[in-house]
Subunit: 416 residues, 2 copies
């Protein structure tokens, strides 16, 4: 089906910094072309020797063969990464031995064509789950063509090449410095359904030319992913293929950072967080059928995890999401979603705000409650919900979108 672009789709893809040392190429193996869609369906990134890599993956117990390989490669390669190949159209999840064969064929082609060690090659795939693979070599055989096309990354083309139901290509980047040396960070990401990351979300690749030791890079990635990609949800369904990888080429000339507490990392850490948050927000804004962007802050929970659990309980509630879609300020459903989380709260001291508007306090509707003002807030396309659960002093913020007719349509027709 032809998807209507998200109302949040930007007028154009952002200008993103080049990352010294990173080359890329895209190509078409015909998956989208056959469907009359003008879009490549596979990309390759190649990084120089000495590039550090960190990755976080779905916690799903039915993880794809690609995710299993990446975990293995990170161990074998001790955090060195040279290349990544990603294809859209088939997730290579629940494909049995054939899925492993496709990976081996792709890896062999990468080693032979690019001259890089196998354990420094990474894979991912996105599309229908359980669909048999046409031919184990169907991605590997693209390698010569991809290799020949390698050059400065066209981030937009790459972001398009791993899209599925995404309605716009998603990228973010920034420039910062380490010890006075300019370094850049650029990332691309795809959504758009089966999104409630439980470690990372769908597919996200971020690159920097900073020089960062693998264990520090891993620490940084886990640190930024938790309050960003791991704090968004579209539909509460965790993918079999969630993959988020961070590559550091070291080509900027900035000094190598080997200690996570090194103060020279402060600005970089903040810049990295900004890029991840930007990507996470784009993910939600292009959630399947999304018409509204919703920020949910839970305050005064007993732990940060408890605040997050409550936030996700609200964010995943179909009743809350359909009320938001309709612009109906049915705040009682937020109360329901807090309650069903089974997290510690003090019901009769709870407070709820929409934006700056106090909606409930002392365990009931606020005395100054104004239905017209509450509805006006819910009529906006950016909605802010704040809930004080009055049980402790920890907070967490999650982001989600609404649940609309378009979600039902898109997901009834995905395989057709």
């Amino acid at each position: 089906m032809k998807l209507k672009p998200s109302p949040f789709a930007p007028a154009s893809f952002p200008a993103l910094p080049a990352i010294k040392g990173v080359q890329a190429a895209t190509a078409s193996r015909g998956f989208y072309a056959k469907r009359g869609i003008e879009r490549d369906d596979v990309f390759l990134f190649l990084m120089p020797e000495g590039t550090s890599v960190a990755g976080v993956f779905t916690r799903s117990h039915t993880a794809s063969a690609d995710v299993e390989w990446c975990r293995e490669a990170l161990l074998q390669g001790k955090g060195s990464g040279r290349a990544v190949v990603v294809n859209a159209g088939n997730s290579n999840a629940f494909t049995g031995v054939a899925g492993v064969q496709k990976n081996e064929a792709t890896l062999t082609a990468m080693v032979e064509t690019l001259g890089v060690p196998k354990e420094q090659c990474f894979l991912a795939a996105t599309g229908v789950i359980g669909e048999p693979l046409p031919d184990p070599a169907y991605v590997g055989k693209m390698l010569p063509q991809l290799n020949a096309a390698l050059g400065t990354p066209d981030w937009e083309a790459c972001a398009r090449a791993f899209s599925t139901t995404d309605t716009y290509p998603k990228g973010a980047g920034t420039e910062t410095e380490i010890d006075g040396v300019p370094v850049a960070i650029t990332g691309i990401l795809k959504g758009s359904g089966m999104i409630m990351p439980n470690m990372a979300t769908m597919l996200c690749y971020v690159f920097t030319d900073a020089a960062i030791a693998p264990d520090v890079l891993d620490e940084l990635l886990r640190e930024v992913v938790d309050p960003t990609l791991n704090s968004v949800t579209v539909d509460g369904d965790t993918s079999t293929s969630d993959t988020c990888m961070l590559f550091a080429t070291g080509s900027s000339g900035a000094p190598l950072i080997e200690d996570g507490s090194d103060p020279r990392l402060d600005a970089f850490r903040e810049a990295l967080y900004d890029v991840f948050r930007n990507l996470a927000h784009q993910l939600v804004k292009d959630g399947e059928g999304a018409t509204k962007f919703v920020e949910i802050c839970v305050e005064n929970a007993v732990t940060a995890q408890s605040a997050k659990t409550i936030g996700l309980s609200i964010a995943n509630s179909p009743l809350v999401k359909t009320a938001i879609a309709a612009g109906d300020a049915n705040w009682g459903r937020i109360v329901m979603a807090v309650g069903k989380s089974l997290e510690p709260i003090v019901r009769d001291n709870m407070r709820i705000w929409f934006g700056d508007l106090l909606i409930a306090e002392g365990g009931l509707r606020a005395p100054g409650y104004d239905e017209a003002a509450a509805s006006a807030h819910f009529a906006q396309d950016h909605i802010s919900i704040r809930v004080d659960v009055a049980a402790g002093d920890e907070a967490w913020t999650v982001w989600t979108c609404d649940l609309t007719h378009a979600y039902v349509d898109i997901n009834g027709a995905y395989r057709t």
Copy 2:
């Protein structure tokens, strides 16, 4: 909004057995009448002295004032129950002190009008959460009128009087015997959204004229609720008001059962289970926007709880539910939902069936997979999904419905 009846709505309300000792009445306090809907909105049941009662309630941490009172009354009254009053239109949840005042006013009216002890009076309410109450006496003042109208229960009228977005009144009953003496069981229940019971579901009242001691009745209720009402989900949203109560009047003349292992209870136990399962199925069939009834059996899990968790993960997945709505046999989403449950499974030994059709085995699509046959199964209005997770030998069955446009519509317009 005017709701379209569920395609599963029966042509007429079933004929249900009378329960010796039970009287009932319904009345209108004007909630539906004001909206042009011909429906009473409050009911009263009155039982004779010596009636045993058991109840299970929502586990929500934002439970309604009515639920809190019922828990208290069960303790104070030591399992004796004489009367229950339920109203639709306002859930009395998150209503603060006013909610308690409404309960006290209703209980005072019940004590004065019916001449029964306060701790043997039970309450429930259903409707919008957090809506302030018009007047603490708004239910209590109906008691004289209800008392005057008491008579043999009109089960259908009672089932209509506590409906909200239900599109048909739901009841079930059966006759059995204890020690050769005929006894009857009849129950009514309402749905239809905010349904993923975590103890009981929404509002359900079941009556029998058997004579059963309170602790045995409590044991029986917990035993039958778990594989029935606690095994259905419409939208994964647990209500603040879930209440399920079982009254045993003892008026049948059957001997008093004081031990749960008494073999004279065998037929009754089975009959009770049948009534609860019937009601649970009706709940799903009238789930908001439902067009399909889905049974999900999870087999060979490590524990029954694990099987249930996996079953509910499938049943609550918006991607599975929208695929079912569209009749798209996208079985890979079942794999996803099994994986995201994080329960122990052996991915590469998993098997999936639709009805008798083997869809997947050995961790991938079955060799004989037939897309046309799979789609034909998904095109039916009764869908059976069976998943062998190959990790143990415990099983559980859950029931759900599909996620359709109508769910989005109903829940965008509920308060209007």
